[in-house]
Subunit: 297 residues, 2 copies
């Protein structure tokens, strides 16, 4: 199977899983459920679900358990986008090529969509396709990665650093929390879903996967910063040039465009190197590192 075929197959699974783990649009309260589905379905690159499935295939996890984990990861990611786009945060009108939730619906609905998607992620993770001990382990990974010492904490640092001149180290710390924590959780949750299988990861394997995830997570953000200044809004599906306009520190603003490109290439090499112990079995993860760095939107 080529990488394109694999990606297409996983994305189809993920869409089906998200359909399954979200309440239907007819379930009361219908407007809230319709808005949750509007925010989640039919859009996005699904990078976290892809990483989760690739890591899980490496460790012998069942496809059904990875569907639940991938759906939970994407729900957390989308809730963060919905809240980040609100007027009191980034005040953005375009996301995944569509009007943002507070524009399409209203602010209170956007707030509740984000809140309810976070809850729904933990509902998905406690479905019985995962053994109870795995459910508990995955919930803990996701909750820590989402919260105040993970994604929400990175968001707080991001807000506090508007208009400030961060050092490269401070910028990296912010992104390690804001984007890196959930990308790392995607890899770790995929791997932990394989607990009990013949290919279940040992402590060394988890360390290698952590190193891979750290490199890919940072590369993702460096490339985001590059695309923000080199690509138009139509291609991105969100407002381009927004970080510069908002006075947000980025890799491009701190180390320049050429050095940012060189850094992205280096991080891709680092990601590949971290996968060496797995040999060919980590092919999909290696290809995903390439995808993250080579993407054009």
């Amino acid at each position: 199977m080529t990488f394109e075929q694999w990606t297409r197959a996983v994305l189809a699974r993920v869409e089906t899983a998200l359909e399954h783990y979200l309440p239907t649009a007819e379930t009361a309260p219908a407007t809230l459920h319709e808005a949750m589905r509007y925010a989640v379905l039919g859009g996005g690159k699904r990078v976290r679900p892809l990483l989760c499935h690739a890591a899980g295939e490496l460790t012998g996890a069942s496809a059904e358990s990875l569907d639940a984990a991938a759906a939970a990861l994407e729900m957390i990611h989308v809730y963060s986008l919905v809240h980040d786009d609100m007027p009191c945060m980034d005040d953005d009108a375009l996301r995944r090529g569509k009007p943002t939730v507070h524009v399409k619906y209203d602010e209170p609905t956007a707030l509740l969509v984000g809140d309810a998607l976070q809850s729904q992620a933990f509902v998905a993770l406690t479905s019985d396709v995962l053994a109870p001990a795995q459910q508990a382990a995955l919930v803990r990974e996701l909750a820590l990665a989402s919260g105040s010492i993970g994604m929400a904490g990175g968001q707080a640092i991001d807000l506090a650093s508007v208009g400030l001149k961060l050092t490269r180290e401070q910028l990296e710390t912010m992104h390690r929390l804001k984007t890196g924590a959930l990308l790392r959780a995607a890899v770790r949750m995929g791997a932990l879903a394989g607990a009990g299988s013949n290919d279940a990861p040992d402590a060394n394997a988890m360390r290698s996967l952590d190193a891979y995830a750290a490199a890919v997570g940072l590369a993702f953000q460096v490339v985001d910063d590059i695309l923000d200044v080199t690509t138009d809004s139509a291609t991105l599906g969100k407002t381009a040039g927004k970080d510069a306009k908002d006075g947000k520190p980025t890799y491009v603003s701190i180390i320049g465009l050429d050095a940012s490109r060189a850094l992205a290439a280096q991080l891709r090499s680092d990601a590949h190197a971290a996968l060496a112990p797995f040999g060919d079995r980590a092919q999909r993860l290696a290809e995903l590192a390439d995808l993250v760095v080579n993407r054009v939107s």
Copy 2:
């Protein structure tokens, strides 16, 4: 031990547990953690933690497991208050006798405090004072009770009903989700924390506890509506008379003050009746039903 002594002892435990399960104010990002602690610590009636401990004592749960469950419940409750108080929702400046989080800090901080408290609740529930299978069961209870078919869904119905004339049945449906779901989860989670003990609840016991929780949950809201028109802001610790001003349907506006008082008394009787199978062992739950109905703030 008198009820007052029991309550005082549990409240002290709960405060210690919340201190323990929240990151310290020195943990980076410090402002976010300081604001989370401001929102959660040193205030509130802690009704959900009290219900959780009382149900757990009935079913042989360890005090440590109840601390984790109680902390998680209170974090979810406080996150909902912080988000509800935001300008795009109820726009309230006073909560638990203090300025609300968006007034004391700012709107983005309030949004992130709520988001991060929800994550932190699931971190608390997956601590190892609970067995993994219990962690998973309690996470599922709490996630379902918090999300779009629970608390957040009730909030959505509440927002959609401003200025409308609801029937008593529609009002009850809204409150069963908005307030009732989490109060019911408090009772159920306490009981489920006793899984494996000699007093672990069977299906019949869970049904009795559900009936108790349904009555107490509705009574809580009826009394809230009564207090909103009969008590001043200083006593309530939140803005009095706000529902009427905002055009929100309440029990008082739909059935009147006297019928609301009679309903609260009836629901207290229903709660007591539901506890009959447990005899004296359910004394604390019975006393809590009295507390909910007799409270003056």
